[in-house]
Amino acid sequence: MDILQVYKCAKCSKEAFPQKLICNHCRSTDFIMIDSEYAIVEETSIIRHMLGSKDWKPRKIGSVRTNKGVLLTVGLSDEIESGDKVILFQQDGAILGRKE
C-alpha cells in the first residue's frame, strides 16, 4: 500500500483532493503531489447493502479530515471509530484509513 498523495497548490500551499483544475483559494493552476500526513475520523458508516449486489459483505467507510484540512471519504477497518487518528493509504484505487 502507498501513502495517499494529495494535491498542494504550488503558489498558496492549500491542499486538495481530488485534483482541482484551478486552486479555489489563489486561482493558481500549478499543483504538486505530496504525501498526506495523518487524518482524524469524523463520522463513520457501515454499508450493509449494495444495490444490484447479492453477495455483498458489510464494510465500514468514514469521513476524515487531514491535518491540513482536506476532507475525504475513505474505507476503514472495523475497529476504527470517530475520533481516531489514521494514516491514509491508496490500494487498487481505494483510499483506506489505518490506525497509526
Partner: protein, 381 residues
C-alpha cells in the same frame, strides 16, 4: 408573454415495469397525459425540455423525433435532482422571450435496480475513481455520513427523522400514483433493516420506473377550469462551497434571504411545499436554508409541524413513498404536486385555499454531498 404552468401529466410509477414499459414509453405516456390535461394538441407543442439517466445513446432530439414533435426550442438537462428546476427556469425564460409558445418539460427513468447501481457507481469521475473502490454504496453511503453530521450538529435522534417518513407515507396514501400507500408506523420505521448506518430502509428512496411532465405556456392558454400558476421567484446555486462544508447546508442558503425579500412574502405565507427528498436529512437541510424552521429548532419542527401535518410538505408522499424514477424525475413530480395544490386539483390531498407554494431541487453529488440547488415560489392570483 407571461409564462404560466398550465397542465401536468404522469405515467404509472412502478417498482417492476413490464416488458412494454421503458423510459421512452413512460415519457410518452406522461406527455400524452399532460397534453390531455392542457386541452392543447400535440402539434401545438413547439418546445421540449427533457431529463433522464436512461435515454443514452439517444438525446432530446431523438425523443422529439420519436414523438413526432417539430420544435423551435429544445433542451436536455443533466443536473440530477435539480434538473426539473433547471428546466423550469429555462422554459419560463423561453416563453417570456417568445422563443417558444408551449413547452413540455418531461423527466423519466426506468433504469431498474442494476442499472441504477451502475449509474450510482460511475456518477462522475470522483465517484468512479475514489468512492466506488471503497464500496461506498452509492448515494446511501454519502448521505449516511451527512446525516450523522446533521444529527450531531442539531441534536437530532433517529426517531425524529421517522416523523418525516411516517408523515409523508400518510400523504402518499392519498396519492393513487404512489408505489407505497400503506400506513407506516414509527415502530416499523425504527425496526427497519439498516442500509448504511444511520440510514435504514425508510430513509432511502425506492427506485421506480416512471415519468412526469408539465406544460408551461402563456396564461392565455390555461384551461378555464383552473388558474394558471405563476413563478413568483426562481433562484439557483451551483457548487456554492467547493465541497468544503459539512453538507448540512445547501446552495439555497446563498439566496434564500434575497428570495424572501424580492418576493415580498415570508416563510409563514407558504401554504404548501415540495422539498426534494432524496433523504430526510436533505429535506431538513433545505427547509433550514429556506428559513422555514423557526430558530433552527429542527427537533421541534419534525415532531410538531411535520408529524402533525401542520406544514403540508411533500403532499404527494415525496420520493420516499411515491418513488424516485432515476434521479431527475422526482423533482418534477414535486413541482407538479404544488401546481395541482395551487389549482385546487389535488383531490383528497388538497390543502385548503393554497395560494403560495415553494418547490426545490437538490442533487448532483460531487464527492461529499450535492452540488446543485434551486428553489422557486409558485403562486396563483
Amino acid at each position: 408573454m407571461r409564462p404560466a404552468i398550465i397542465a401536468i401529466g404522469q405515467s404509472v410509477y412502478t417498482r417492476h415495469p413490464d416488458e412494454n414499459q421503458n423510459t421512452r414509453t413512460l415519457m410518452r405516456d406522461a406527455i400524452i397525459s399532460a397534453i390531455k390535461d392542457s386541452g392543447l394538441k400535440l402539434s401545438d407543442i413547439d418546445g421540449l425540455a427533457i431529463t433522464s439517466f436512461s435515454i443514452a445513446p439517444d438525446s432530446a432530439i431523438d425523443i422529439a423525433w420519436r414523438l413526432g414533435l417539430s420544435l423551435k426550442w429544445l433542451l436536455q438537462d443533466s443536473n440530477g435532482g435539480s434538473s426539473a428546476m433547471n428546466m423550469l427556469g429555462h422554459a419560463s425564460r423561453a416563453i417570456e422571450t417568445n422563443a417558444a409558445s408551449n413547452i413540455i418539460i418531461v423527466a423519466g427513468d426506468a433504469t431498474g435496480l442494476s442499472g441504477y447501481a451502475k449509474i450510482a457507481n460511475s456518477y462522475n469521475t470522483a465517484t468512479r475513481d475514489h468512492l466506488s473502490p471503497i464500496g461506498h454504496g452509492g448515494p446511501n453511503g454519502v448521505y449516511a455520513l451527512v446525516t450523522s453530521r446533521q444529527m450531531k450538529k442539531y441534536n437530532i435522534d433517529k426517531i425524529d427523522y421517522g416523523r418525516m417518513a411516517v408523515a409523508q407515507r400518510k400523504w402518499a396514501s392519498l396519492n393513487p400514483h404512489a408505489v407505497y400507500k400503506h400506513e407506516l408506523t414509527i415502530e416499523e420505521y425504527i425496526d427497519a433493516p439498516m442500509v448504511a448506518d444511520p440510514l435504514a430502509r425508510y430513509d432511502c428512496v425506492p427506485v421506480v420506473a416512471g415519468s412526469y411532465a408539465l406544460i408551461i405556456s402563456s396564461e392565455d392558454n390555461c384551461p378555464v377550469d383552473r388558474k394558471p400558476v405563476f413563478i413568483k421567484s426562481f433562484m439557483q446555486s451551483f457548487n456554492f462551497d467547493n465541497q468544503e462544508g459539512d453538507g448540512t447546508n445547501t446552495g439555497i442558503s446563498t439566496f434564500s434571504d434575497k428570495m424572501w425579500e424580492e418576493s415580498k412574502i415570508s416563510p409563514d405565507d407558504i401554504d404548501v411545499l415540495s422539498i426534494y427528498d432524496d433523504y430526510p436529512a436533505m429535506v431538513i437541510a433545505q427547509l433550514n436554508d429556506l428559513k422555514m424552521i423557526p430558530d433552527e429548532d429542527i427537533k421541534s419542527f419534525l415532531n410538531n409541524e411535520i408529524m402533525l401535518k401542520n406544514k403540508p410538505i411533500n403532499t404527494w408522499g415525496g420520493m420516499l413513498s411515491a418513488g424516485q424514477p432515476g434521479g431527475p424525475a422526482g423533482g418534477l413530480n414535486g413541482i407538479g404536486e404544488v401546481v395541482q395544490q395551487l389549482q385546487g386539483r389535488a383531490g383528497e390531498r388538497q390543502v385548503r385555499n393554497a395560494k403560495y407554494g415553494i418547490v426545490t431541487g437538490y442533487g448532483m453529488t460531487l464527492y461529499r454531498y450535492g452540488g446543485t440547488a434551486a428553489a422557486a415560489i409558485l403562486e396563483v392570483e
